[in-house]
Amino acid sequence: MSDKQKSLTYLTKYLKNYKKPILISVAFYLIVTIAQVIAPSLLGQTVTNLSAFVKGHGSLGVFYQALAWMAGFYAFNSVATYIAWMMMTRFNANANNDMRKGLFGKLQRMTIRYFDTHQDGQILSLFNSDLDNIFNALNNAFFEIISQSLLFVGTIIVMFVINWKLALSVVATTPLILLLSWIIMKKAHVYLDNQQDRVGELNAYINEQLNGENVIITQGLRDQSVAGFKKENAKVREAMFKGQFYSGILNPLVSGFSLLNFAIVIATGAYMIMTKQVSQAAGLGLIVTFTEYSWTYFQPLTQVTSIYSMLQLALTGARRLETVEEQEEENTVPDGKTISGVNDAVRLEDVHFGYTPDKEILHGVSIEVPKGQSVAVVGPTGSGKTTIMNLINRFYDVNSGAVTFDGVDVRDLKLENLRSNVGIVLQDSVLFSGTVADNIRYGKPEASMDEVIAAAKEAQLHDFVMTLPEQYDTPIENGQDNFSTGQKQLLSIARTILVDPAFLILDEATSNVDTVTEEKIQKAMDNVIAGRTSFVIAHRLKTILNSDKIVVLKDGQVIEEGPHADLIKKRGFYYQLYTSQMAFE
């Protein structure tokens, strides 16, 4: 699909829900436009009546009548404009609201791969900049285009009806103007597109830098950060200058041409009189009339060029948004199977996987987690532990092999069903704005306060929450400095406890919690794990000693497997890990 088609597809999609208000307001606006053309003749009528009265041919009554008509017409015109604009405002704002919601909804359905490969700031600028551009353009340009094209076409018809030769002289320069405009618009288009891309990049830069501000400060990188900003900013400046310039010169060019066109009309008229094509009296009248028409003919052209950059930015925005809307979505497997709990086992069966086609990370991994058991995966960094979690929860899909729940391939399960059966405590804990309680009941918004407190207690978070100024109602804002990393993790554990999943994945969950708390969590987790099937990705060996089975992963392959005691006896890789990490008396 070409860029333009993309933009139009996008706009049509969101505007078509407002067909009725659009049609009605456009109809009103057409009336307004016609009324604008007629109004001067009513004024003329009034003046004629009045001068007739002065010359003694009429009465003031006729004048008053004409005046009343004129006033009534004016009032009607204002009211119609008011109605048309009110309707337009409403459907435009609502359509923009739909776009914003649509974009966010789309983001919700997209694959994790998209988020892992796109900068947050780039996505944010769709909200901050592109949606705004569309809104502004529709607000300012929508009626302008309709009424101006009407005027344009109307003028052309009238001109050709009166005198086609002079009409031709009026439109003679149009091809030249169109060619010139086309060249400039093409350039402007490139630069305005470029401008939005550069702004997106700058946004991404700012986002990344400010989110890593603690590193910037402690590494003494502020000067460097400012220098990097200057570089991005200079690119934005350059792109914006070109965009503004090329889109800005169209208007003075076209209105300048409209002056030159007068000269052409006058010259043509004079030529027609000289060659006796028309009589002098008629010819002079025609020239005067056609200079007026030349003026009305150019009006729409200059008006439209003055809003060109606004239109172009909106089209660019629409294209960028449509590109997002076209992105692949997660397959939710709507008519897939459902399971409730794990009755037999969760298995990885000869799984091969890589994030990119050219680099495989897991080379034929098979792991079985039987019902009710706790299986731990240990292994050096980069061995692929976290990747397994991504596969079980279908953040990514295997290249070959399968992940199965009770023998059912996860790809055959309803996605929602799969994820509601799997609870994950992630490596990096994330808090959302809202209260502490909102965060704990994140996975189950309808949970009662008692459930929240019970979960917090189980996750050893309750005591800490009670020290907060408003306890469970304490708001969590951006930055979240009330919470240490460990406390955030406790909260994320509480969150998972509350939803009570059948299958639990702990992704290095205990790594940032200190050992005293870890011991408590371990106890809590032992309770949670009891009767539940679980999969623990950890390197704190102490936390997994009681696992039913420990799987040692190295370089994307399972190298050892068995309970703690067996692995110790084996004196292999696990033995080395254990002896290097634990304190011995």
């Binding site: 006033a71 409403r90 704002a93 944010l124 402690t218 003075p252 005067v288 050992t515």
Partner: protein, 575 residues
Amino acid sequence: MKILLPYFKRYKKDVFLTLITIVFSAFATLYQPRLLQQVQNELLADQQQAVIRDTAILIGLGLLSIITGVLNVYYASRITQGVVSDLREDTYAKIQTFSLANVQQFSSESLSVRLINDMQQIMNMIMTIFMQLIRMPLILIGSIIMAIVTIPRYWWAVVVLLALIMGLGVVAVKQITAMFDRFQMYMDKISGRTGEFLQGVRVVKSFNQSPQEIAKLNKDSDELNEVNIKVGYWFSTILPGAQLISYLVISLVVYLIGTSILQHPQDISVITPYVNYVLTMLFAILLVGMAVMQISRGNVSLRRIQEIMDTQPDVVFNEKAPEDALGGSIEFDDVSFTYPDGQQPVLKHISFAVAPGQMVGIVGATGSGKSTLAQLIARLYDPTTGKIKIGGSDLRQVNEKALRKTVSYVLQKAVLFSGTIADNLRQGKKDATSYELERAAQMAQASEFIQRYDETFDHEVEERSANLSGGQKQRLSIARGIIAGSPILILDDSTSALDAESEKLVQETLEKQLPDTTKIMIAEKIVSVMHADKILVLDNGRLVAEGTHEELLKTSPVYQEIYKTQKAKERKEEL
């Protein structure tokens, strides 16, 4: 607006040239109808010479209007882009003088909205000023004068008209300006929500909470929409309202002329020009009004920039102090600390001293204040009371460059930036040679995985470092921390995602290869700090014990408790 003045001064020449081009193009605009009228009259009077002359002038005027118009756009664009990009740069530079607390108070999302979206508004404002606003008052004043001159008797009608339209305008502008504030607030909110979602996308998905996220955003979005609609309603009222007022006044004046026409028969000829002048006036007022609106929206944004500019960084360094690195000793003298928006002190009366080259472990429960203590050493915050000295100098008196050269702080949560691995490591030392990169990577046990990439150090780090595991990120973060060879190295639980073997290797290497560096290790694992020269035990913000592993095992109950949870099941000889 004041904030922009110095920036305009930088573009004096462009401002001057813009004004000249405006005057010329306004002249062309105003003169052209007159000239055209003249040509038409000459045509009707059959004055051929005059027609040819004025047609030539018309062509000249057209060319003049094209040239000045294009130049106006050129210079106005130069001013606009120059001023905005300078302002954006200064704003960002100002943000980079902020303390971490300052940044968090604004929130990084709000700061980036200010730098992008608000700047866009300011840009529109400047563009409006230089391409429209200056021209319009000329036309407005001209048409007011002409309307009054045309029929002096009814001067009061023009005054009434102006008063009514202005009244409507003032009310509307007030309402709309108030709503722009709310508009920006909801924009911030939506941006914040989206940012949060992008950060936590895995959590949202694994809890199946997309509906909840959507519901929250939709609520904000609807509120924003409400504001948009209200603003739109006001806009939709202004034009037809002003139109209605003008038309009624016109009708009234025409009526009055009609009733007194026998006394003033010559008034018939002024009706048409009068109407034209009133309509021009209306047109000019509306354009000025639009410009005012654009400016008031720009002003809201300017205020938000002003807020950043007016913020006093709450950690200020002494620029006069020397930039040389400080010594490696650390001294805490009765330090207590409460976070700016917190109520309870996080650290209470902490005093201790560390000699250069010592290795010090800090242990304690979650929330006991370990990370906070480390952040104070790096002066991310200032102590609420008490004093911290590094190399004998009070931290409040040192130069920032000196402190950054002295203290290298490897954070618990490894943050990498997009760019190559080498780019990230060089953040620790700008001019690091490839040998130095290699050495730091080796010490951080990162060499092995880096060498596995085809591009080795030139391998790209993706957004949120999604292509690296937690352990790999931490290794790179450690390598970045040690590459400069700072006298003091703080490792804030920064090996937590490393596997045991690599963690042990990292520690041994650091101990061996950096004997002169003061090493502060915040650790969850006793094994990590067992060999430290000194271990500090924190409990609920207090320093409860201090000593070597052996001493603490005997004397500190808190330490004993921690140790117990980390002991192997078996005795060494049982294995």
